[in-house]
């Protein structure tokens, strides 16, 4: 799928090629864009210094020139979206125009225990999934305690399609077989103002947003404390982004595609997906059950032992029943 998408990107309305043509028409003699890399003159150095100076002015007075196009990361890169992930480790992910993560900022000490270098360059939804998986494996997410298996994802877009980022994260997490089903993720939209306030209060964006939606003016609550109150959870359910029918279909399709790669016959699942009135959430559960049956873990082995004992007694009983039936048939 990626190669075909890449081919379409390169050959159908290619952003760089069109920019190149525009440049030739705007500056037919100069061709500044493609010659800039080869300039070693004092003029180039002046340009760089001038750009940094002007970008500082733009950042300090964004409303005057162009509204919210891009944000500078801690390492001075230009990002077009920010995704904050609060598990207990908290992270800020800076995203470029191609929805790829260019920088990850661990917000607290726990976050520094996760491996993040290899995630740079991946699409944001893949990074979010990986961080949650790592947190799960390291025990930051407690699968038994429902107060400790909640993930808050806050998104701010700075000039790219924020809807697409949210949708991609929803589909990725919904169709993930790497994250335990008990983990609950909530996506909240935020603004640049929210981020500034969160920085001022010295809390992560997700914590700031949670406390904001219940108008908590006191000491900011952690994610765990927040979700321990059922009233708060109800409000969060209402406030957070909903996974709609289209996303559910994409989640299902992604799970089906994954099963195909494992050589599983997916005809029945596909038929259910095409069937009108099908309960899509139930279908997702059934698909995930299918995955679990492909990879039983040690816990389920113990469970299987118990079932075996029960089954053994059942088998004895059914043998007696069957033998009686056979006798009857024979008579006929």
């Amino acid at each position: 799928m990626d190669k075909l998408k890449q081919t379409f990107n390169e050959n159908l309305l290619n952003e760089d090629k069109i920019l190149h043509s525009i440049n030739h028409k705007i500056n037919p003699k100069n061709g500044w864009f493609y010659h800039k890399a080869f300039r070693l003159s004092f003029g180039l150095m002046t340009l760089v210094i001038l750009s940094l100076f002007i970008s500082n002015i733009i950042q300090s007075q964004p409303d005057k020139i162009v509204k919210t196009v891009g944000i500078t990361t801690p390492r001075n890169q230009l990002a077009y979206a920010l995704v904050s992930v609060d598990i207990n480790p908290s992270f800020e992910l800076y995203v470029d125009k191609n929805d790829r993560v260019i920088e990850i900022n661990p917000i607290n000490e726990e976050a520094k225990t996760l491996i993040i270098d290899q995630l740079i360059g991946l699409e944001v939804q893949d990074v979010v999934e990986d961080l949650i998986k790592q947190a799960q494996d390291l025990g930051y997410i407690n699968l038994i305690d429902t107060n400790q298996n909640t993930v808050i994802i806050s998104t701010i877009n700075y000039g790219i399609d924020g809807e697409k980022i949210i949708k991609n994260i929803q589909v990725k997490l919904g169709s993930s077989v790497n994250i335990d089903r008990s983990v609950k993720s909530y996506i909240i939209r935020a603004t640049d103002d929210d981020r500034e306030e969160a920085k001022r209060e010295n809390v992560s964006l997700g914590i700031y947003m949670l406390n904001g939606i219940i108008q908590n003016k006191g000491v900011p609550m952690s994610v765990q404390n927040f979700v321990s109150d059922l009233n708060n959870l109800e409000i969060l359910e209402e406030y957070a982004e909903k996974t709609n029918g289209t996303e559910l279909v994409e989640i299902i399709q992604a799970l089906i595609n994954e099963l195909v790669t494992k050589g599983i016959d997916v005809t029945s699942f596909q038929n259910r997906l095409n069937r009108e009135g099908e309960d899509l959430e139930e279908l997702i559960d059934d698909l995930k059950d299918q995955f679990e049956s492909l990879n039983p873990n040690t816990n389920s082995d113990d469970k299987n032992d118990d079932e075996y004992e029960d089954d053994e007694s059942d088998d004895d009983k059914s043998y007696e029943d069957d033998s009686e039936e056979d006798d009857d048939e024979h008579d006929d």
Partner: protein, 174 residues
């Protein structure tokens, strides 16, 4: 100060290209015309706003306004009407089931550039659907909204187009 203009222009270009190009893509049949119109939009923007250091409150809306003007000029010059599709003219009698295997073959086995070239041999509506799905990663629902047809029509045509592409690909191999 023209290098400063160019950097500012490129920032805006990068931030708005996807949305603007999608907008024009669904309104014009011929792809090279789509490219020309997009170029004209940005050249206008550069000439009248960036170069003159003017300010615009909502850049995206402003660009869409320029796009509408360019499209009006384009339709007049070509003496054409905007492309439209409807469910009635695009209804397919046979019920095409989504075929995972064809999609899998097309996406993972066939040569991408050959598939891309063969898309040009499909009906216009199918070209638009396939292009929107792979270039812009749009969902069937989003494509349906952009083309003003039902999601079901989009889905059915999409899978039918994939079958057609597979047939064309295999014919070309012979």
């Amino acid at each position: 100060m023209s290098n400063n203009h160019n950097e500012r222009f490129e920032t805006i270009y990068r931030a708005t290209f996807n949305i603007l190009s999608k907008y024009v893509y669904f309104k014009v049949a011929n792809i090279s015309d789509v490219e020309d119109i997009i170029q004209n939009i940005y050249i206008n923007f550069y000439t009248y706003i960036v170069k003159k250091n003017k300010e615009v409150d909502n850049v995206q809306s402003y660009l869409i306004q320029i796009a509408n003007n360019e499209l009006t000029k384009y339709y007049k010059s070509k003496k054409e009407l905007p492309i439209t599709f409807s469910d009635e003219t695009n209804y397919i009698i046979e019920n095409i089931q989504s075929d995972i295997n064809i999609e899998h073959d097309l996406l993972n086995t066939f040569e991408p550039i050959k598939v891309f070239e063969l898309v040009k041999e499909l009906e216009l509506i199918d070209q638009k659907i396939i292009g929107a799905h792979f270039r812009y990663e749009m969902t069937f629902k989003e494509i349906a909204l952009s083309l003003h047809i039902s999601e079901n029509t989009v889905k059915t045509r999409y899978y039918r187009a994939l079958k057609e592409l597979k047939k064309l690909y295999e014919l070309n191999l012979e």
